[in-house]
């Protein structure tokens, strides 16, 4: 987020370096139920981001002291593979991944009906296989599909997407270059049924007007992501039924 570069991120026609307009997100691919041994799983590609999410539980909570006698807890582990970025990432949890794990589990705790499973734990594992800016949004998008796939009671499926500012323009779904040389990055996750925001961060500077515009862009895009999430889940069960009828 240096904010200064000679690079032209948005040209005079409003075209971005990967050929998108300001209000266009990268191509998204979502698949549910990709892992056999997890209770629920999902694979998400957003542009060059490749993310795998697995859900286990509800199950007995370990360590014991984390148990909540009133409700279940959502434990999330966000992990970047060493090969996910161009410079090898040192494996293991670091400050960034601990933070992302925390905000994702807090976002999911808002939608999961945790009060149905007191003392239990719902474990979410997010593995970033390839990163290209916006992995926390891709991770949360994948995690909520995996939760629904695991049959866990929840109010809604959470979509997430980032908006930001680069080259003086408010853009949707920043890619690596726009994130690195841009001025701001605002990841957002919402509950589509009420448009409540369950995750909001901001890194960089924006005016109030730019910020409002960014939120508007991201909320609209979240609804598009949500449609793709729903489609992925339904596809998983309609496919075998079609084979049956043949």
């Amino acid at each position: 987020m240096s904010g200064h570069t000679d690079m032209v991120l948005v040209d005079e026609n409003g075209m971005r370096i990967d050929g998108r307009t300001e209000e266009q997100h990268r191509p998204i691919k979502i698949e549910a139920g990709v892992l056999n041994n997890a209770d629920g799983s999902a694979y998400v590609e957003i542009g060059k981001n490749k993310v795998l999410a697995a859900v286990y539980g509800p199950r007995e909570c370990h360590p014991r002291h984390l148990q909540n006698p009133q409700k279940a807890i959502v434990q999330c582990k966000y992990n970047m593979q060493a090969f996910s970025v161009s410079d090898r990432k040192r494996p293991g949890p670091d400050r960034r991944s601990i933070e992302i794990s925390k905000i994702i589990s807090e976002a999911l705790e808002r939608v999961v009906l945790t009060e149905l499973y007191p003392r239990a734990s719902i474990d979410v594992y997010i593995e970033i296989l390839q990163a290209n800016a916006g992995t926390r949004c891709a991770g949360l998008t994948a995690a909520s599909v995996a939760l629904a796939d695991a049959g866990i009671p929840m109010r809604d499926i959470v979509p997430a997407i980032a908006a930001g500012k680069a080259d003086g323009h408010v853009l949707l779904d920043l890619n690596k270059e726009e994130d690195n040389y841009g001025q701001a990055d605002v990841p957002i996750a919402i509950m589509p049924s009420t448009d409540e925001i369950v995750l909001l961060q901001m890194d960089g500077n924006m005016t109030r007007e730019e910020f409002d515009h960014a939120i508007e862009l991201a909320v609209n895009a979240c609804h598009e992501v949500h449609d793709l999430q729903v489609d992925a889940l339904k596809r998983r069960y309609s496919k075998p039924a079609q084979e049956e009828s043949e």
Partner: protein, 238 residues
Amino acid sequence: MERRNARQTREIVVPGEVLDGTGMKPGENAYVLDGKVRASVMGVRNVFQNTVGVIPLRGCYMPTSGDTVIGVIVDIGPSNWLVDIGAPYPAPLHVNEVPWKVEFGDTSRYLSMGNVVLLKVLSVDESKKIQVTMKDSGLRKIEGGRLVKIPHSKVSRVIGKSGSMISMLKNMTDCRITVGQNGMIWIDGDDENADVAVMAVKMIEAKAQAGNLTDRVKEFIESKLPQSEEYDEDEGEE
């Protein structure tokens, strides 16, 4: 379990999806938001009288009192056993709830690690503390036979409408079959017959979404056990 309505088109819903906005009441796995009934799990939309709910497609087993379940002993204490019944919570079986007189500390003489038991869920309280019992007719330690585990959401398919599937399985394969509500199924019979019964259960699990399953499974057993027809007739004559 849930009573199904006459077969409508199976509409698959996902969490948050609106089930009804015209004033129906929320049934199982549904909640109300702004006057609209929404699903809280992924499953099949199910209308029953004036309620609309969801029959889950997946999800873990939640015990309710009165369920007959099959469990595995996973830990032994001086006055109880811990049984894994496939729920998110441990199910302790107290010595007072077994049909034998057990001295304090003598628990492992009666049931040891890995033993399989047929139990009944006595109670599940607010904080999901489970109590199970073995003091009821038919409840016992299970020996011999084989154990098949299926997702608990598919148990109702194995039993079938008013037990049609399970009684067909029992008749045609001549096996003793006990279905636990938690998805553990115990099958005992001749090697060949039991093999077919296990395969049939696996088939039900794989094709739980398909219609007309009882007839398909019947065909499958007939192809595997050509003589199975005779058992059926024998039963009829007796």
